[in-house]
């Protein structure tokens, strides 16, 4: 799962880079070039010109986030938790190119005049050792960085949940307001950025916006029925079909792909010519072989998402188990399950403090559309299409 292909080795090297190798490859981090008030403004303008967007799934313009952090003693939080089981890019990045992330943290800290930075990773993450070793090598960083291990729950790495955990020790989301930029960690203005986003700042600072845009790459996790699953670095804007070629090609006939992780959308194989960047959610593609039942996969994931609810908001606490139950009933041939799903899916979305229930609804809704023939087969003929396909 950690296979890394780097023919476009801009961000991800094939082997871990210590500080000396990193500096030989990229040059020293040009902090002085963006120092002072003018430098800070210039850096944020450069980030805007480069059109860097959050790579944790939300896709929010990073320049606007940087500009929103104002006030006394701001904090930078680098989010390297990567809770989605279908994404490994942040772990790969922290493992192989930790100094790009740490450079990005320093640049972001300087841009928002932060006095402290925190690198968040999930408890027991394989990336911790690399991050700790990299941090120990850096002696001239103006802003001190501490590594904090976050409980291994899906919603614990949501922005407000991270701020909540760092402030109170409770790793549950608190809602959209107040924004961390206004009142974040311990009430201080806080910038929360994904580690991949921060690494992009480190690349941009060295090249400038024009060169950055011309050579921009994406880190995508490809899993499922491909020959070489793993994290792949590709030029931005690649179509999903081309991406799968880069992952060694598919291993058997494919019926659909899940783009965007557990809270993403199913796309029929015929639509896999689409650009990944135009789809919501994290940079992840799971390839479903025709021999597997997409409804069954969806039911399993929905059950996990229900289990991962922080159980704070009613529509999520009760809605997700209900949706997971409906999918399980659908698999058993319960025709009423489809009626219940049609009623429940639109009711659950947008009603939680975080986007966790929205992702589950996106997954479920797209599954019913993409696997509609499977739905018919399950409820009318009481059998799974994949069995008939395998028999044929």
């Amino acid at each position: 799962m950690t296979t890394v292909f780097t023919p476009m080795a801009r961000t991800l090297p094939s082997h871990r880079q210590d500080l000396a190798t990193h500096t030989r490859t990229h040059g020293a981090v040009p902090l002085a070039a963006f120092a002072g008030d003018g430098g800070r403004r210039g850096f944020i303008a450069e980030v805007g010109a480069a059109d860097i967007r959050g790579r944790g799934g939300a896709g929010f313009p990073t320049a606007r986030k940087l500009a929103a952090v104002r006030g006394r003693r701001p904090v930078v939080v680098a989010n390297g938790c990567e809770g989605d089981p279908l994404s490994h890019k942040d772990k790969a990045l922290l493992t192989l190119a930790p100094h790009l992330v740490l450079d990005g943290i320093q640049l972001a800290a300087q841009a928002v005049a932060a006095t402290e930075a925190v690198l968040c990773v999930h408890q027991g993450s394989t990336a911790i050792a690399s991050a700790v070793a990299a941090l120990a090598e850096r002696r001239t960083d103006p802003v001190s960085v501490r590594i904090v291990e976050i409980p291994r729950r899906y919603v614990a790495s949501e922005e407000s949940a991270l701020v909540n955990y760092l402030t109170t020790g409770d790793a549950r989301p608190t809602g959209k307001e107040p924004r961390p930029a206004e009142r974040g960690v311990s009430g201080r203005p806080t910038l929360v950025d994904n580690v991949d986003t921060l690494a992009q700042l480190a690349l941009l600072a060295r090249t400038g916006a024009a060169t950055y845009r011309a050579s921009r790459t994406d880190l995508v996790t490809v899993t499922g029925a491909v020959r070489s699953p793993g994290v792949i670095e590709v030029q931005a804007g690649l179509r999903i079909t081309d991406l799968l070629v880069r992952a060694g090609g598919v291993t058997e006939p494919v019926s659909a792909v899940l783009a965007g992780g557990y809270g993403g959308s199913w796309l029929p194989w015929a639509a896999a010519g689409e650009h990944l960047g135009s789809l919501p959610g994290i940079a992840s593609v799971y390839v479903l072989p025709s021999s597997a039942c997409g409804l069954s996969f969806t039911a399993t994931v929905l059950a996990q998402l229900a289990d991962e609810s922080a159980r704070q908001c009613g529509p999520c606490m009760f809605g997700l188990p209900a949706l997971a139950g409906d999918f399980a009933a659908l698999l058993r041939g319960d025709a009423d399950a489809v009626t219940r799903l049609d009623r429940r899916l639109p009711l659950v979305t947008g009603r939680g403090a975080c986007a966790h229930p929205d992702g589950a609804v996106r997954l479920g809704t797209s599954a019913l559309a993409v696997f509609r023939h499977d739905v018919t087969s399950h409820v009318r003929d009481r059998q799974c299409l994949t069995r008939t396909r395998r028999a044929a």
Binding site: T174, G175, G314, P315, G319, L347
Partner: protein, 67 residues
Amino acid sequence: MTGQRLTVDPIGCRAHGLCAEALPELIGLDEWGYPLLAGGLVPPDLVAEARRAAAACPALALRLRKS
């Protein structure tokens, strides 16, 4: 002219359901007892009722806000 909007704090809400009783014109309940708010601005003739509904929420989760 600025109008007013109903919002619910999803974490604070405990599904008491008093809001739906106080303001059935704009608030329904889902099958688990949590409020479903009609979107958009509160019509001027319902603003007083909406204010009463917000005040009736035992969890202080329903709010009437200027938008």
